[in-house]
């Protein structure tokens, strides 16, 4: 069974990660950033070894997003569609494992990613079952 673990962040969170925090946001010193990176790598390595990792990725800053919609039959593009403070998908992990509870256990581990004080308190991750078939979408 496949599950997607999703983590969110706003442009401000990205700025903080880049060492340029908005007022009231914690700063990420380079060593914290490095610690986060190696923690993520370790988790990815463990999940690869256990055969549970399908894919993982981080999304670039929301400012680079491009939105496309159809208006009057014509595709219309909006660049940077998000507000500065809007939380958007920032990264994901697709895991294939035995149960929702196992996927949750993996996410609980990811939730313990190290970072500067104050970051963990506002961070969260969502776990969602990926539909295995068209029928499951119908439930």
């Amino acid at each position: 069974m496949k599950y997607m673990i999703l983590v969110y962040g706003s442009q401000q969170d990205y700025d903080a990660l880049g060492g340029n925090p908005a007022p009231g946001r914690p700063v990420w010193p380079p060593e914290d950033f490095a610690a986060m990176g190696s923690f993520m790598e370790k988790v990815a390595k463990d999940l690869t070894e256990s055969g549970e990792l399908v894919d993982t990725g981080g999304l670039t800053a929301p400012v680079h997003a491009r939105r496309i919609q159809v208006r009057d039959g014509v595709p219309v593009v909006t660049d940077g569609p998000y507000a500065e403070t809007q939380e958007v998908l920032a990264g994901y992990w697709i895991v294939e494992c035995g149960s929702f509870d196992r996927a949750t256990q993996i996410a609980a581990r990811l939730a313990q990613t190290p970072g500067p004080a104050g970051v963990a308190e506002t961070a969260y991750a969502d776990i969602r079952p990926l539909a295995e078939s068209r029928e499951e979408l119908d439930l």
């Binding site: 069974m1 463990d46 256990s50 055969g51 549970e52 494992c97 035995g98 149960s99 929702f100 509870d101 196992r102 949750t104 256990q105 609980a108 581990r109 079952p129 029928e135 499951e136 119908d138 439930l139």
Partner: protein, 402 residues
């Protein structure tokens, strides 16, 4: 049109598999249990008329999943509810496991009372309806509904994940399951409600399939089979109990005796004998005797000796030990052992103790004391047929010409 019994049997078999699949996929043990039960009810209504679908398991999982979606959406209180996730050291992915077994462990969670464990096990793993369980335990359906609902909630709130518990907890949790299955069996046996005893055997068989190398699981299954083998013969036409020595042994279930004996023989070879294996070995010795006189009492007394050592606090075992000693070394030896038990109130107020004492007194030729003891036992016996039987035994001891 397929038989209703056939459909019911299939549904009971599939119930834990469906619940297991749904909880695995979506979590929500409590709501998933309701959703599964609704799917089973829908199938019981449709299948006898429409036929069994090609893949009944997939059909039930699909319907139960859909019901779960409905239940979750209609129960707003359930969404946005916070609960603590049990953080366990990351043990990696769980090995392939039997869902029925995981469910049994959840239903027998240590945070539940044994009444709740029993009810939840029968419903979530046994696939019985709440009404059936309420009938079996002679309580109103509302009471049983509340008991099951609370138990499910509790299991969910305990945050126990849908997985086999880790090494240090595993043995204790499995023992709790065996105890619950044993209680279901004895409840069925004591009340002569064959449905409960049969259900206990079915569930223990399932557990044995999941853990074929666990000798205590095999021991418990053997104990149940070897005990239940005597079911037909142990009551007379008026529901009065017939003591083993007087039972018509041709009415014993030979297939059960064969299967139980094989199981316990294999189990005893694999490791140190557990409580269920020892009790099964004793039951096998009784069952193997062609007549009551052929019973290997010295061997039975020796096995009880081991049982007493393993579980010294259990008064029923000590009582049976005394009886076996009486049959080996004479009634006086047995009566002396019963004297030692007299300080235990749990025992002396129990009709089984009083009955055994009466039998031994009768064997010893102490007619007056035996008669009194039978009457005392009758006063404590829980059912009318038992009371009638004990008074009749007392009556037989009344001097005819007096």
């Amino acid at each position: 049109m397929r038989g209703t019994t056939e459909v019911e049997g299939l549904l009971r078999e599939l119930a834990p598999q469906v619940l297991g699949a749904v909880v695995r996929r979506y979590g929500h043990f409590d709501a998933a249990e309701d959703a599964t039960q609704e799917a089973l009810i829908a199938a019981a209504a449709q299948w006898p008329a429409d036929g069994i679908p090609d893949s009944p398991r997939a059909w039930l999982i699909r319907v139960a999943s859909r019901k779960l979606t409905d239940l979750l959406r209609s129960d707003q209180a359930r969404s946005r509810r916070e609960y603590q996730w049990q953080v366990t050291p990351d043990a990696g992915p769980a090995p392939d496991q039997d869902d029925s077994l995981v469910l049994l462990l959840m239903c027998c969670h240590p945070s539940l009372t044994s009444a709740a464990q029993i009810a939840l096990t029968l419903r979530a793993v046994g696939g019985l309806t709440t009404a059936q369980i309420a009938r079996a335990f002679l309580v109103p359906e509302d009471t049983m509904t509340r008991r099951i609902t609370r138990a499910r909630q509790r299991v969910k709130d305990s945050g126990v994940p849908f997985a086999m518990p880790g090494g240090d907890q595993r043995a204790g949790r499995l023992a709790a399951v065996l105890h619950v299955l044993y209680l279901i069996f004895t409840e069925g046996y004591a009340s002569t409600r064959a449905d409960l005893a049969g259900e206990a055997i079915r569930l223990t068989r399932m557990m044995h399939r999941a853990l074929p190398n666990d000798s205590e699981v095999a021991g418990l299954l053997a104990l149940m089979l070897l005990t239940d083998a005597r079911r037909e013969a142990r009551t007379g036409t008026g529901a009065e109990p017939i003591p083993m020595a007087e039972q018509d042994r041709s009415r014993w279930n030979a297939a059960y005796i064969r299967e139980g004996t094989e199981l316990v023989t294999t189990a005893l070879r694999t490791g140190p004998p557990g409580l269920y294996q020892l009790q099964a070995a004793i039951a096998a010795l009784h069952d193997e005797a062609a007549t009551a006189e052929d019973t290997d009492w010295p061997q039975i007394a020796a096995l009880y000796e081991l049982l007493v050592q393993a579980d010294p606090a259990n008064p029923v075992i000590r009582l049976n030990h005394a009886v076996a000693v009486a049959m080996t070394d004479g009634p006086r030896a047995g009566l002396a052992m019963l004297e030692d038990l007299c300080c235990d109130r749990r025992v002396t107020a129990d009709h089984r103790f009083l009955t055994a004492r009466a039998h031994l007194l009768e064997m010893a030729g102490q007619t007056c004391a035996a008669r009194e003891a039978y009457h005392a036992a009758a006063g404590r016996a829980p059912t009318l047929p038992q009371q009638r039987y004990l008074h009749a035994r007392a009556g037989r001891l009344t001097p005819r010409n007096a």
